[in-house]
């Protein structure tokens, strides 16, 4: 407001003076502001009437607003408006949209689901969401995993099996891979020989003499590697012991290493210290059986399902 205009309006002052001559104008509030203020008061009163609001004695005024939702037994319930009932109502709505799909997923065997294009679309979107919220932090966004931590789910190499029922079992119950440490049972030389043999299995050029002794050790009672990794070293999926012949490494950091000595050190490290950090959490408590079924198909279709 310009100075001229301010002075031209004969606005009252508050009536007192500070420091001799300092005065304060007493401008009335604009009319629109005052009315908005009254309206907010009116809004508050209507809100109190409609929603749960005032505490009285040991309870509260529930408000006259009502909400109807379908409870767990499928019976419609009407109660005073509250956020929890409202969530039930919203979830009823969501279930109504997704139910036909989830029902179909639940009812059909895996092989049929994989062939149904409509269900595949549903799984691609619902599965993607579930995977992003629960699995991607470990297995990474595309399921490619992380060497040293989490297995690749998009390749056709499986610790526990890539069949539908195996994947479902993995996700529902969780897994914990365990290989005992051999640092005390075996000598450094023996561990070196074993490592040479293990690497030679996947076509690395290793010391042939050492690998030969390693091979014997692998199949001996002294080391006992064959109990878990199998006579052919192709692994045993019941206990999650990996195939050592397929050039796919999860724990021994072979793929990132260039020099043979580094590859050797990585494998020796595994044999020396064993493995006890492969923990896949169980999802049976957190996710519903239908969600797990959707995820199972999703993981299966990432590329390597059997």
């Amino acid at each position: 407001m310009s100075k001229d205009k301010m002075q031209s309006q004969a606005v009252q002052t508050t009536g007192h003076a500070w420091d001799g001559d300092l005065q304060e104008y007493n401008n009335p509030l604009p009319r629109w502001w005052v009315w908005t203020f009254y309206l907010t008061i009116l809004f508050a009163i209507l809100y109190w009437i409609w929603f749960p609001a005032w505490p009285v004695a040991k309870g509260y005024t529930p408000g006259v607003g009502k909400i109807t939702y379908v409870d767990a037994k499928g019976v419609a319930q009407t109660t005073h408006w509250n956020t929890r009932a409202d969530l039930m109502r919203e979830m009823n709505g969501l279930a109504a949209i997704q139910k036909p799909f989830f029902d179909k997923v639940a009812a059909q065997p895996y092989a049929a689901i994989a062939k149904d294009p409509e269900l595949n679309n549903f799984i691609a979107s619902a599965g993607n969401q579930l995977f992003a919220d629960n699995c991607a932090t470990c297995h990474q966004a595309g399921g490619q995993g992380k060497i040293g931590f989490f297995p690749n789910l998009a390749d056709d190499d499986w610790l526990y099996g890539g069949q539908f029922d195996k994947i479902q079992e993995t996700v529902t119950q969780g897994r914990r891979g365990y290989m005992p440490p051999f640092g005390e049972a075996l000598s450094t030389a023996q561990i070196d020989q074993l490592a040479n043999y293990v690497l030679s299995l996947s076509g690395e050029k290793m010391d042939a003499a050492k690998a030969e002794t390693g091979k014997a050790l692998f199949h001996s009672e002294t080391a006992g590697c064959f109990y878990c990794h199998g006579d052919d070293a192709r692994g045993r999926q019941v206990i999650g012991a990996p195939n050592l012949t397929d050039k796919i490494w999860l724990w021994a950091n072979v793929p990132n290493a260039d020099a043979p000595s580094i590859k050797l050190a990585a494998v020796k490290n595994v044999i020396q210290n064993g493995l006890n950090k492969g923990v896949m959490p169980a999802w049976g408590q957190r996710l519903t059986p239908e969600q797990i079924k959707v995820l199972t198909v999703y993981v299966h279709e990432l590329g390597g399902g059997k």
């Binding site: 767990a72 979830m91 950090k277 959490p281």
Partner: protein, 254 residues
């Protein structure tokens, strides 16, 4: 009657202004706080089949982990409050119950959500993941903006004031027990195993035992701040077994 109110009566009298301001504010406060002490059904009762309460105060180790959570300011990016909203139910699971934070002083509900809500993060990930993620979040989640907390793994957990910390919580109403009577009371409420954990005279011993058995940070040689923090994270939101209740059970508490 000639009553002519002038606001300079108040404005020129600091003492009166102060008193009236406090009266105005405390009306708001009383209306919000007083009912919480009177209304019985704000905090849900959650009991198992044997009639024991399943929501318990934190063990000594978890409680120290919680202190570290607060000290490091994790709450500036993470809330612990799953609201009864569809999107949150789909992503995080069952909405948080009032009962689940009844022993939190102060509660960690929060409102800033740079990262995900942590109210139900317990058991979602392995300890191994938690260790890696806290030391270097981007090694696990490439696009993360969470800071690195490498010192947690190298700093031994200070337990010298453990007893005082638990006593302080007891003073504000958390049922940690000091006397035999309080202990027996806890046995009735929570069962023997939990009551043991809540007994302050056993705190130091309990803490060491839980840290050694849990081996949360993957290093058995000593008990670090990371042991405590992960023990705390792994228990978040795991005390209520929602599969025991119908999906609408907790609606009746509102």
């Amino acid at each position: 009657m000639n009553f002519n109110f002038k606001h300079e009566w108040i404005e020129t009298n600091v003492g009166l202004l102060l008193v009236l301001t406090m009266v105005a504010i405390s009306i708001g406060g009383l209306v919000e706080i007083a009912p919480l002490f009177l209304i019985k059904n704000t905090v849900e009762t959650v009991k198992d089949a044997k009639g024991l309460e399943t929501i318990r105060p934190y063990t000594a180790l978890e409680s120290r982990g919680r202190d570290i959570y607060v000290r490091e300011g994790c709450y500036t990016c993470h809330s612990q409050m799953i609201r009864p909203l569809k999107d949150e139910a789909v992503r995080y699971g069952h909405y948080s119950l009032a009962a689940e934070s009844q022993y939190d002083h102060p509660f960690q509900w929060g409102s800033k959500r740079t990262g995900p809500d942590l109210a139900r993060v317990g058991k979602k990930y392995s300890n191994e993941w938690q260790v890696q993620h806290l030391i270097a979040p981007r090694s696990m989640v490439p696009e993360s903006v969470m800071p690195n907390y490498p010192w947690l793994l190298s700093t031994p957990l200070d337990t010298s004031d453990l007893v005082d910390r638990l006593r302080a919580q007891r003073a504000v109403g958390v049922p940690y027990s000091l006397t035999e009577i309080e202990y027996q009371n806890n046995v009735k409420r929570f069962g023997e195993a939990v009551a043991q954990q809540l007994h302050i005279p056993n705190a130091q011993q309990n803490l060491v035992k839980q840290a050694e058995e849990g081996n949360f940070d993957g290093d058995r040689s000593n008990i670090t701040e990371l042991d405590a923090l992960i023990a705390y994270l792994q228990v978040l939101g795991t005390m209520v077994d929602f599969s025991q209740y119908d999906s609408d059970h907790f609606v009746t508490f509102r």
